[in-house]
């Protein structure tokens, strides 16, 4: 009952807001009337500039723009100067004058107040004329934006050093610069009641599944919130399983990663105001891939991938295995190792589980502290960190030498996962497994692992099974999951996203001396 009431109440509020916002739709031919309405809309907005002038000395006109969003210099030179030039002929039509003298590339005719507001908000100045129901939006938007820089979250040794920025246009242009084909499509929509954030849906026609695009479009349109500040807002509102800690979209700052996903038939969702684009659908194994894998030799990349898988397991399980073995299964440790473990644990007052939790939580805290720290005090944390997770902790009799080793290896291991949003759930799940290991031993570790495996196999990302191509098994796609096959072997796109355009390249491209060209 209570919930139902609350929902009703919310609905009322929504209606009220919509009523308040009602504005007349079409522009009037009376300039003054239009201006009154616009002034009323933008009252107490000190950044909105209304500039009235006479076109060719006779027709009243008004230029409206928002300070800091429009290029004032170009407005002066290309709009005001030519239009205000007095003409000898009184009879000249202001509209033809605009067409003839306005040296602005992008001029959009607008005829409603809604369009006015929309154009103003993105920075395009609006030109309204006396006696005309049509206005003009001039494409002179220009605001301060960050230059294209190397993405700091996804560093590569070899590969392009450009990263997405906060501006949507820049980001789409980065994609367009890599995919020159007109088949790269960009659907744009605006989300957020107040922020009206632009969202672009990029895909390659005839390559991405149309039902997938339709599905993503539907999910995006369902979103009705006040503001979207980052792609994370959208991610949480469109993912298949909202409770899982595992990421169901791939987040990247790198145009090359985005493009390679587009070429696999995936969809890239770009949100204005953030350099992080979302790639969907994604699978568990694609989160272990780094763009750089494809730029290095395939043997090296395959080895690196296996290293990541190994360290993922270490990151998830090592503290738990240590706790389980040292408290329940002492017979499994080689005698010499056990004896040194026992020696160093002798002075530790806590059970191994408490010891492990203590150190792991401290380590997580240390990392969190280091993450948010102003650069000036960073050195202090690393000094303290070395003391906390180090010999000092052992000397203080709080932890054993081996525990320090375990925590250090685990810490390193969690950094080898190339996607930060996958590293987080693995770090998080380490703790319940540690509790299980402390209570049930290795049986508990297995229970935890099985639970995670079961959970992972139930997940889907936009309809694609999360564990594909391993479960469901697709042998053809293994070449890019368990290994990184040489490029001349990667002839087909991933089955579940690229089935509509299966072959990505000509077959039999293995370089060989018989093929000529020498």
């Amino acid at each position: 009952m209570f919930f139902r009431k609350k929902i009703k109440f919310n609905k009322n509020i929504n209606k009220k807001q919509q009523d308040d916002k009602q504005i007349p739709k079409p522009l009037f031919s009376n300039l003054e009337k239009n201006l009154d309405i616009l002034r009323e809309l933008y009252k107490e907005c000190s950044d909105v500039v209304f500039r009235s002038f006479l076109i060719a000395g006779h027709t009243k006109a008004q230029l409206i723009y928002i300070k800091g969003l429009s290029n004032v210099e170009e407005m002066d030179n290309n709009v005001l100067t030519p239009l205000m030039k007095k003409s000898e002929k009184r009879t000249v039509n202001p509209k033809t004058l605009i067409e003839q003298t306005l040296s602005v590339a992008e001029v959009v005719k607008i005829s409603s107040f809604e369009a006015c507001i929309e154009q103003l908000s993105v920075g395009n100045p609006i030109l309204l004329l006396e006696g005309d129901e049509q206005g003009f939006a001039l494409g002179l938007a220009k605001w301060e934006r960050r230059a294209i820089e190397e993405p700091t979250g996804e560093l590569v040794v070899r590969g392009p050093r450009e990263g997405f920025t906060e501006a949507l246009e820049v980001n789409t242009s980065l994609l367009r610069r890599k995919i020159r084909s007109p088949q790269l499509k960009l659907k744009t929509l605006k989300l957020g009641r107040y922020t009206q954030t632009a969202i672009a849906l990029a895909y390659i026609e005839d390559l991405a599944d149309e039902t997938l695009i339709e599905e993503i479009n539907q999910r995006l349109k369902r979103i009705d919130i006040d503001g979207i500040l980052e792609s994370g807002y959208i991610e949480e509102l469109i993912q298949d399983n909202p409770y899982t800690p595992f990421p169901q979209v791939l987040i990247s700052e790198r145009p090359d990663t985005a493009v390679s996903s587009l070429l696999e038939g995936r969809v890239v969702i770009i949100v204005d105001g953030t350099p992080f684009v979302m790639i969907a659908p994604t699978t568990f194994f694609s989160l272990f891939q780094s763009g750089e894998d494809y730029y290095h030799h395939f043997l090296i990349s395959t080895a690196t991938r296996w290293l990541r898988y190994l360290f993922c397991f270490i990151s998830l399980l090592l503290p738990s295995l240590y706790v389980a073995v040292i408290t329940y299964h002492q017979e499994m440790v080689p005698t010499t190792l056990l004896l040194t473990m026992v020696d160093s644990r002798e002075v530790v007052p806590f059970p191994a589980l408490v010891e492990a939790l203590l150190m792991e939580i401290t380590f997580e805290g240390l990392r969190e502290a280091g993450l948010r720290l102003p650069k000036q005090v960073g050195a202090a944390v690393s000094i303290v960190g070395a003391l906390v997770i180090g010999q000092a902790a052992v000397d203080a009799g709080l932890v054993s030498d081996h525990m320090v080793m375990v925590v250090a290896i685990t810490g390193i291991a969690s950094f080898t996962i190339p996607r930060y949003n996958l590293a987080i759930p693995i770090r998080l799940l380490r703790f319940p497994i540690m509790l299980l290991a402390g209570t049930f031993g290795l049986v508990g570790v297995m229970i935890g692992l099985l639970a995670i495996m079961t959970h992972l196999s139930t997940l889907r990302s936009f309809g694609v099974p999360y564990l594909s191509p391993v479960a469901p098994m697709k042998g053809r796609d293994m070449k890019d999951a368990l290994m990184r096959a040489p490029l001349w072997k990667l002839n087909t796109r991933p089955h579940l996203t690229g089935e509509y355009n299966k072959h990505r390249q000509g077959s039999n491209q293995k370089p060989h001396s018989d093929k000529g060209g020498e």
């Binding site: 408290t327 329940y328 002492q330 004896l339 026992v342 002798e346």
Partner: protein
């Protein structure tokens, strides 16, 4: 959501209600690294446990017959007494403040007196209890087993470790608990175990600073020790059982009055049994490859005839070793520790059933032929003087 909370509550109950009842922190464990079994005059079993002392600060702790001469030691000894091994362990448990962990007891030393009374019934504990490993090595000590345990080896951290390494070096006999069980179950119940001797301390050395070494082998029949064989015979037994891995053969050719020593690289033995009516025959086929490691003679081993002569000498030497072994084992002890019975069973399972009953009488009558193929692979560099 409610379901998720329910699952969470149930899960927490699982975790919290069980309360780690099997938990054994290492701080509460007495890790036994080696065991010595003795019988005292009253016929009681004395079980001496070598316990790892965490942090090496075991001085004085544990009490009992704790031999701690010479600085920091990593193990302490504790003795439990009782009429059977479990009773002795119970007695040991009473004396120890910690729970006993048997999983790492990898050396079991049994005294000669104990072994002469039979070990199969008593060792049942080590086989039946889930903790002790079947891979632990079993030794027989000449004197009291606990005296061996009281030694302080200078190279290794504890006696057990030294003993394990001695066994693993495979110079002479080695036997794990598992091997022992297999041998006990075997057709004859004939067992060979390494025998530990204590080197008499050199001048100025404390008795505990002496070392234990394996020089002989103990022969057991039906779990009871019946005799001892020396290192040469032990090596012969290893040849018969195809277990030879390390051997240095020194020959003294008649023509040359000095010696040539050779190191065994590879030795392989095949036993081929034949049953011809009532007479049993065994052909011992040996293929061996050796390297020359020392040549004191004037022979130039680069010459083929000398090499052939050397190979001949080697064959004779091995054959002599094997014949000596046979004399001792087959003729004197009359115990089949060289695995003849097993070979007969494998090759002639039906006929074996008939001779199985009186194998003890038949075994000394088995006629043995040798077919030895010895090759010297590398004569080595060195002058031909």
């Amino acid at each position: 959501m409610r379901r998720a909370i329910m699952i969470g509550v149930i899960f927490m109950a699982f975790v919290l209600l069980t309360g780690c009842w099997d938990r054994r922190e290492t701080n509460d464990l007495a890790i036994i690294t080696g065991v010595a079994l003795d019988k005292n005059k009253e016929g009681q079993i004395e079980l001496t446990a070598e316990i790892h002392s965490p942090g090496g600060s075991g001085n004085g702790s544990g009490g009992g017959e704790d031999n701690n001469q010479g600085g920091v030691q990593s193990t302490v000894l504790q003795i439990g007494k009782g009429s059977s091994i479990p009773e002795a362990i119970e007695n040991l448990n009473e004396k120890l403040p910690r729970e006993i962990l048997w999983s790492h007891a990898e050396a079991i030393v049994i005294s000669k007196a104990f072994a002469e009374n039979g070990i199969s019934d008593e060792l049942d504990f080590f086989v039946r209890h889930p903790e002790p490993r079947l891979r632990s090595y079993v030794f027989i000590s000449d004197g009291k087993a606990k005296e061996i345990m009281a030694l302080r080896p200078s190279l290794e951290r504890s006696v057990s470790e030294a003993l394990i390494k001695l066994a693993e070096s495979e110079v002479l006999m080695k036997a794990t608990l598992f091997d022992l069980m297999e041998m006990l179950k075997g057709e004859q119940g004939a067992i060979v175990l390494p025998m530990i001797d204590k080197l008499s301390p050199e001048e100025g050395q404390l008795p505990s600073e002496s070392i234990a070494y394996i020089h002989r082998s103990a022969v057991l029949k039906q779990g009871k020790m019946i005799g001892v064989i020396n290192d040469q015979i032990s090596r012969g037994v290893l040849w018969f059982r195809n277990e030879i891995n390390e051997s240095i053969v020194t020959v003294e050719p008649d023509e040359a009055d000095e010696i040539i020593s050779m190191n065994l690289i590879k030795g392989r033995t095949d036993l081929v049994p034949e049953i011809d009516g009532q007479s049993l025959k065994m052909t011992v086929k040996i293929v061996t490859i050796d390297d020359v490691i020392q040549n004191q003679t004037s022979w130039d081993l680069k010459r083929l005839d000398k090499l052939k002569a050397l190979e001949n000498e080697l064959v004779q030497k091995i054959e002599k070793c094997l014949t000596d072994t046979l004399d001792t084992v087959q003729k004197e002890m009359k115990i089949d520790i060289i695995g003849f019975g097993e070979e007969f069973r494998r090759h002639h399972p039906k006929k074996w059933k008939k001779i199985k009953g009186d194998w003890d009488e038949k075994f000394p009558t088995v006629q043995v032929d040798f077919d030895i193929d010895a090759r010297v692979l590398r004569a080595g560099k060195g002058s031909e003087t």
